[in-house]
Amino acid sequence: MTTQTQAARSSAVTADRLRSSAAALRRRASRLKIVLGAVLAGVVVVPILLANVLPLPDPLEQDLSQRRLPPLTDGHLFGTDQLGRDLLSRILHGGQVSLTIGVLAVLVSGVVGVIAGAAAGYYGRWVDAVVSRLLEAQMSVPLLLLLLLVVALFGPSITVITLVIAFAQWPEPARLTRAMVLVEREKPYVAAARVLGLRRAAVLVRHVVPNIVNQVVVVMLLLLAQAVLLESALSFLGAGVERPHPTWGRIISDGQGYITTSWWLVTLTGLVIVLLVVGVNLLGDGLRDRVSRSRSAKGEAQ
């Protein structure tokens, strides 16, 4: 409850001062996005993290006499599903699966992307040629089809789904890192470090990458939002982590058949996904604005 009033207050402040200068407005817009994003994401993430300690029914416990109870009945805040399982508990446990896969996938794709992008940008020549061709080729791949095929062939385990999502996402950090390293390697400090006798790899790892890494890290939040959406789309299409684990996509796909009689199954689950993804996206976008502004304030070209 307190978190909601906080969001309302900060947005009201911004609306009040909309007529001030452009720079001030930009700063305030990014602050609004960061605060709003943190609140929205927090509203979803905190209960998900606490799902195991909160006094909730087991997400797998069926009670056929309690089928499809509407929200707010018999202590079921979000109601129950077609097998009498508590919907809130299932959404929160499904969220654990989504967040685990999302965070792991972003870490994997981030590490792979930064390494590939940094090597391509720094070493150029054949390294760049190979990485750039791979990035181009992936744009023409029927991606979702390939991901579905891999999951169908290798089984819907958390590992497979994580790797599949990481594969879909590595081009973004790779492209970004490559572009930034291309600019960074021409700067005087790189030449200076070389003159001081540092090896090329050492300059890259100890000096160039640390200088760009926080911009890439900020983009990771946006990738996390995409990863959560992709995971839910895969599980909606039947390529989610195997039953009985609840996943967001499957709760919605199972609930689709009951939409006219039990609206809450699809509606509430979808709203939770939207809240989380909007929150993470706003947070990431706001932080990116702030990071790129502090860089340009220091007189560095993007």
Partner: protein, 311 residues
């Protein structure tokens, strides 16, 4: 120009070849016997052997690959199990539906996203700008399958304006196209906004304004003309990606296109059908991208010399 075109076509064909080969390898790397999956629990040893022969799963990997490639060149991708007809025909039958849906969605996107992006860019750093910024972030945060089901429930079940599924009349196109466009409008209008804001703040626009060029001309003939290449590229890329199957939306709306075909082919492990789909869709997607590249000179005289665009 002809040389550049030939190079690009060769490159594209090579990429398609790589993609198709990857799928070939993936299918064979997978654990378990595809023949057993196809034949079901009642299949006898002879049945399984027959299925393997039909699948091109006999002999060494290199023999299988040769068999597959020679078939590919002749346009023979095998029989689809679930449809009992040539896999390629099944895919080509479904193709017009996906092209129609993707075309409608991209048209809707362009018609709304371009004016929206220009409108907010001309009011940069105002409440409109911030509002549109947050609105588009929200727009790209909604899962398509969820917005699809919601639109379907509200506008086809609760208030029955549109048909609920399939392609029975042209009005059946509205809801799936709108579902896809909602996400694409968010993405494209952000791009239009970024490009336009950058161009409108560029020195050449300031100079033109000081010489008395009207705001309308500044917006369209100056800034928009210079923003059109990235925007057209993005629209083309999005359209190409949609031809790869608007899988989720087609499934939600039971649209008889490539996307819903893919999901069915995967469920039934219909390998020839999967391979045919991959081939057709990647050929199309790459073809569209090539076409977009070739259209650049129409939008920007600077690239009319016949060189690749290097931005």
């Amino acid at each position: 120009m002809a040389r550049y075109l030939a190079l690009r076509v060769a490159q594209s064909l090579f990429t398609v070849f790589l993609i198709v080969s990857t799928v070939f390898v993936l299918v064979r790397l997978a654990p378990g016997d595809p023949a057993a999956a196809v034949g079901g629990p009642t299949a006898t040893t002879e049945d399984l052997q027959a299925i393997r022969e039909e699948l091109g799963l006999v002999g060494s990997i290199s023999q299988q690959y040769w068999h597959f490639i020679t078939g590919l060149v002749q346009g023979d991708l095998g029989l689809s199990y679930s449809f009992r007809q040539p896999a390629l025909d099944v895919v080509l039958d479904r193709l017009p539906y996906t092209i129609t849906l993707a075309g409608a969605a991209i048209l809707l996107t362009a018609l709304i996203a371009i004016p929206l992006g220009i409108f907010t860019a001309r009011r940069a750093n105002s409440g409109w700008d911030v509002g549109a910024n947050i609105g588009t972030i929200a727009g790209q945060s909604m899962p398509e399958f969820w917005t699809g089901i919601m639109l379907l429930t509200l506008l086809a079940v609760v208030v029955p304006i549109f048909p609920a599924s399939g392609f029975t009349s042209w009005s059946g196109l509205v809801l799936p196209a709108v579902t896809i466009a909602l996400l694409q409008i968010a993405l494209i209008s952000r791009l239009v906004h970024r490009e336009m804001a950058g161009n409108l703040a560029a020195p050449y626009v300031t100079v033109a304004r000081s010489r008395g060029v009207a705001e309308r001309a500044l917006t369209w003939r100056y800034a928009f003309a210079n923003s059109s290449i990235p925007v057209v590229t993005a629209l083309g890329t999005r359209f190409a990606a949609m031809l790869n199957g608007v899988v989720v939306v087609e499934v939600v709306f039971a649209w008889p296109g490539i996307g819903s075909l893919v999901v069915r082919a995967l469920e039934t492990r219909d390998y020839p059908l999967i391979q045919a789909t991959v081939l057709v869709t990647s050929l199309l997607a790459i073809g569209v991208q090539l076409l977009v590249d070739l259209l650049y000179p129409l939008f920007d005289p600077r690239v009319r010399v016949g060189k690749a665009v290097s931005r």
